[in-house]
């Protein structure tokens, strides 16, 4: 009996939490279906209105919504692939290989996390212009692959999740280290891939300060830049702004579900192995 009550309480707690988490997103949808002034209602409006298509067609009139979405997709997925590869490879080296200066170099990786990034804007921009990468998605993708957090994360995870014996036995089988990485390490760290993948993808999708600085041509706008141009200098049409914002957030949830699958499938895989 108490177990049932406990479980019920647990669900109540979870549902309330989920509600609180979802509310602003839902509310964004409400605003995206209402005329501008509804945003001022106190208490806030909580029922969707009838301006769904009107607001969204406004968005389409102002910006190249789908083109920008495609750019964001390219930027986010290429960067994510790069980060997963670079970080897991480096994480593997830092966790399992012995070479001179390893721990010192790892410390350097950690220290790079500690530098506040906001001041780097001007010198970094300077480098991009010297490389001739202005208005090129490369300018966002390549620097985006620097991810000290990812290396730290992968090292930590590989250290725990990949037993040394497995690597040793691969060595005895005559496996090269890259093959060991590819055949042994990668399959056993899928949850870590899923996590880092989600976080990187989301970060790149939502980042705007840097893309905005180096992408000044409409053809290469990412969705975040495109959406910000919906904000007029003084007069703001929130119905339109939040409509664009809402529809640009939805793909993220799909991406999350895809990576989440990776979580689950890796779980069952583990079960099979046992």
């Amino acid at each position: 009996m108490t177990k049932k009550v406990n479980k019920f309480l647990l669900y109540v707690f979870l549902v309330i939490g989920a509600f609180l988490s979802f509310f602003p997103l839902y509310w964004m949808f409400v605003m995206a279906t209402n005329p501008n002034h509804v945003i001022n209602q106190i208490p806030p409006a909580i029922v969707p209105g009838d301006k769904l298509s009107e607001n969204f067609s406004n968005v389409l009139n102002h910006i190249d919504f789908f083109g920008a979405m495609l750019n964001s997709l390219i930027v986010s997925s290429v960067t994510t692939i790069g980060v997963l590869f670079i970080c897991s490879l480096a994480g593997f080296a830092f966790a399992k290989l012995h070479f001179k200066g390893r721990d010192k170099l790892f410390l350097v990786v950690l220290v790079t996390m500690m530098i506040p990034p906001q001041l780097g804007l001007i010198p970094q921009y300077f480098i991009i212009t010297k490389l001739g990468w202005l208005n090129d998605l490369k300018a966002v993708i390549i620097p985006g692959m620097i991810n000290a957090f990812g290396i730290f994360w992968m090292r930590q995870y590989i250290k725990e999740a990949v037993p040394d014996e497995l690597i040793e036995s691969a060595k005895i089988d005559g496996c090269g280290l890259f093959r060991t990485y590819w055949n042994i390490v990668v399959p056993s760290i899928l949850p870590a891939f899923a996590t880092l993948g989600i976080l990187t993808f989301m970060f790149m999708w939502n980042d705007f300060l840097w893309p905005l600085t180096v992408l000044k041509d409409e053809e290469v706008y990412t969705i975040q830049i495109a959406i910000r141009t919906l904000q007029d200098a003084y007069v703001k049409d929130y119905g339109m702004i939040l409509s664009g914002t809402f529809w640009s957030t939805l793909p993220l949830i799909v991406v999350f579900l895809v990576f989440n699958k990776l979580f689950i499938s890796s779980l069952t895989q583990g079960a099979v192995k046992q």
Partner: protein, 424 residues
């Protein structure tokens, strides 16, 4: 093998990267003999349409306009100019932000060298002055639109307080700031409502009417030497302490909602606020009217078109912007986008003069703002304008929200301002 796989993977990434950059490279290669002008603007200006018109007349010129969000636009321009590359051929800069770029005089073309002297008389003098350097030898940009201020007022609240409601009588009732304070008292007593719902706008209105503001032409802080700013502060503090002013933050939902509910009497605001009022208060048609501001007028907003030094085509860029902000085009911008013109010759154009708005009780709104546009004081703002403004508003906020001692707050604000000014 190990190396091979590594190279394979890396090249995969590189292919993806170059695949997406190739497409744009193709797009750019097409028309190479034309003179290409990149132009950065913020918000919706409607300049794309005008640029098309210009390109038809000048087939050798190709103009590409990029519009970005307001703050992003100015920050990106700052970064590009600071790094020394990547700036466009033409950049729009908002009037408050132009102060930030004053120290970058060497990054811009002096428009006087490109022939701007000739068109000087077409523009309002104060607007022109703000686009110059302190001694008037260097012109950063040509004026686009302006934001002359007036007094929006709620007819229903005035009626409830037993006050006259037509624009003429209201103007006569509130000719100056003493009268404004007196009306504030009456409205508070009769209706319980504040005269305005935000102290910042009152302070700004007073500041704009001062003959000098925060800095003199040598960029020295003069708010302690000259009485005007302190007087504006004191006046605002007085209204706050008497409870005549509300404390809704600008742009917050409750600020917007209050516009529709008629929970206050006046809004001291520029021409472009008409759009904000209409957007926030769709149900208040006929309840808002507009008349002249007590004591004079002010300006909030409006921009300039500048030509960064990096451009390869300064003459062509100048020719285009001179055309773009000439009176005829400004009239078009006004009709299409509501950008308030900075060229007074249009103010007598029938289509401008007779422009009326049913939402604002059918009065000739353009005329009201045109009148105040011609009354704006010519002042020098100074490159550190924003520092001072932010700290004084902070002090006012403390007085309003924390009932802090205004004298102490003023002194603390001055101290903070001075500390920040030392550093550049």
């Amino acid at each position: 093998m190990r190396k091979l796989s590594l190279i394979l993977l890396l090249s995969f990434v590189l292919i993806l990267v170059t695949a997406c950059s190739d497409t744009e490279a193709n797009g750019e290669g097409s028309s190479s003999d034309k003179i290409k002008l990149d132009m950065w603007v913020f918000g919706s200006t409607g300049y794309e349409k005008l640029a098309d018109e210009y390109m038809k007349e000048h087939p050798n010129v190709e103009i590409k306009i990029q519009s970005t969000q307001f703050d992003d636009h100015h920050n990106a321009l700052f970064t590009a100019l600071s790094a020394g590359s990547g700036a466009p051929d033409i950049a729009m800069i908002e009037v408050n932000n132009i102060e930030r770029f004053r120290q970058a005089q060497d990054r811009f073309h002096n428009l006087y060298d490109l022939g701007a002297e000739e068109v000087k008389d077409d523009y309002l003098d104060w607007k022109w002055r703000l686009g110059e350097n302190a001694d008037g030898t260097f012109l950063y940009g040509l004026p686009t639109d302006i934001g002359p201020t007036a007094m929006f007022y709620r007819v229903d609240v005035f009626k409830e307080a037993g006050l006259p409601t037509d624009p003429e009588s209201v103007k006569k009732l509130i000719p100056d700031w003493d009268a404004y304070a007196e009306v504030a008292r009456i409205i508070k007593e009769k209706t319980g409502k504040p005269i305005a719902d935000n102290y910042e706008l009152i302070y700004n209105a007073l500041r704009d009417q001062a003959p000098v503001q925060y800095f003199n032409n040598e960029d020295e802080l003069i708010i302690e030497k000259e009485p005007y700013i302190k007087a504006a502060y004191d006046y605002t503090v007085d209204l706050i302490q008497k409870g005549y002013v509300g404390d809704n933050g600008l742009w917050t939902p409750e600020w917007g909602a209050a516009m529709d509910k008629g929970s206050y009497a006046t809004l001291l605001a520029p021409a472009w606020m008409q759009g904000v009022v209409k957007g926030n208060a769709p149900n208040s048609s006929g309840k808002w009217m507009i008349t002249g501001m007590p004591g004079g007028a002010g300006n909030w907003g409006g921009s300039y078109l500048t030509i960064p030094k990096e451009t390869k085509h300064p003459e062509e860029a100048y020719k285009f912007i001179q055309w773009l902000v000439a009176p005829e085009q400004q009239l078009k911008s006004f009709k299409e986008m509501g950008l308030f013109p900075s060229t007074p010759s249009i103010y007598n154009d029938p289509s401008f003069k007779d422009y009326s708005d049913d939402y604002f009780g059918g009065i000739n709104t353009a005329q009201v703002f045109a009148q105040s546009a011609q009354m704006v004081q010519t002042v020098y703002m100074g490159k550190n304008y924003k520092v001072v403004q932010a700290e004084i508003v902070n002090a006012l906020t403390n007085v309003s929200k924390k009932s802090a001692d205004p004298e102490k707050e003023w002194k603390a604000a001055v101290k903070r301002i001075k500390r920040q000014l030392e550093r550049q």
